[in-house]
């Protein structure tokens, strides 16, 4: 039962860390555990990998330079 609670706490802390929801002290303690505890390290790397894959694989429109120019033109046009 203790292991189950520890695992749940680990999952919660990892999620909160990547959501930037840990207070500074808890964040520092968490990172120390990541450096010293293989279970924390594994959970950290797993969560990091999943989130990086989501960011990498989501569709992103291409180079925004044309849109930036269009915005500048519109603002310039409205001012005249």
């Amino acid at each position: 039962m203790q292991d189950f609670n520890d695992l749940n706490e680990l999952k919660k802390q990892v999620g909160m860390y990547f959501d930037q929801a840990l207070d500074p002290q808890t964040r520092d303690e968490f990172l120390q555990k990541v450096n010293s505890d293989p279970q924390y390290q594994q959970a950290y790397q797993h969560e990091h990998s999943i989130r990086e894959n989501l960011k990498k694989l989501i569709h992103r429109p291409g180079d925004p330079s044309q849109l930036i120019q269009a915005i500048k033109n519109q603002i310039g046009g409205k001012e005249k």
């Binding site: 989501l54 849109l67 915005i71």
Partner: protein, 211 residues
């Protein structure tokens, strides 16, 4: 529109602090509208509004969050009115109705990394786009753009507990969808299977030879 004396200062803020976020806003707008042309229109509208009200923006504060809030409001107030919606009970209303304030936190600890090996490219986008808009929005703001709960709460005008609650449910739904797409491309979750194989009694030498 900014006054003449302050114009140069406002133009500098616009150029240095606001325009660098065009790419992030384009991605967000694309996943709200599902359409590149509409997304670009929405981003342009956002920047025109930002320029019009730039005197309300405090230099050096969170420009990205401010722009995302303007875009989200522009989407709700203008873009969605243009899209003909059939008269029906919208799932989004049901989602909002069941919003609760809680402190549940869900990451992706129970999602297998291997599923991404079975994805051809569009599955993440398809899975995120298939989420109800309230769920899609928090995933995009938190997991893709890296906003904090507080920033998200300010952008979408809901309490922080609601942000957490939506994220919890949105991630669970997203994990289900990603796992399902991966299965369709040949992914098999072997968790639990190894254990059952191990419990199968090993064949004796004689049994193997009989085969």
């Amino acid at each position: 529109m900014p006054n003449k004396p302050a114009k140069a200062q406002y133009d500098a803020i616009f150029e240095k602090e606001l325009l660098p976020h065009v790419g992030a806003l384009q991605t967000f707008a694309y996943h709200l509208t599902y359409n590149q042309e509409d997304a670009d229109d929405l981003v342009q509208e956002t920047y025109l509004k930002a320029y019009r009200f730039i005197d309300k923006y405090e230099k050096g504060t969170n420009a990205k969050a401010w722009l995302f809030k303007i875009l989200k409001n522009a989407y709700i107030n203008e873009y969605r009115k243009k899209v003909k919606q059939p008269t029906k009970v919208d799932f989004e209303d049901i989602v909002a109705f069941h919003d609760t304030d809680d402190d549940r936190v869900s990451g992706y600890s129970d999602l297998r990394e291997e599923i991404f090996l079975h994805m051809m490219g569009d599955e993440v986008t398809t899975a995120i786009n298939s989420l109800p808009i309230d769920f899609r929005t928090v995933i995009l703001l938190c997991d893709i753009e890296g906003f904090t709960y507080e920033e998200i709460a300010a952008i979408i005008d809901v309490p922080i507990g609601t942000v957490r609650s939506r994220l919890f449910r949105a991630r669970n739904l997203l994990k289900e969808k990603l796992t399902e797409y991966a299965r369709q491309h040949g992914y098999t979750d072997v968790r639990g299977q190894k254990k059952s194989k191990r419990t199968t009694p090993a064949k004796t030498k004689d049994q193997s030879e009989e085969e």
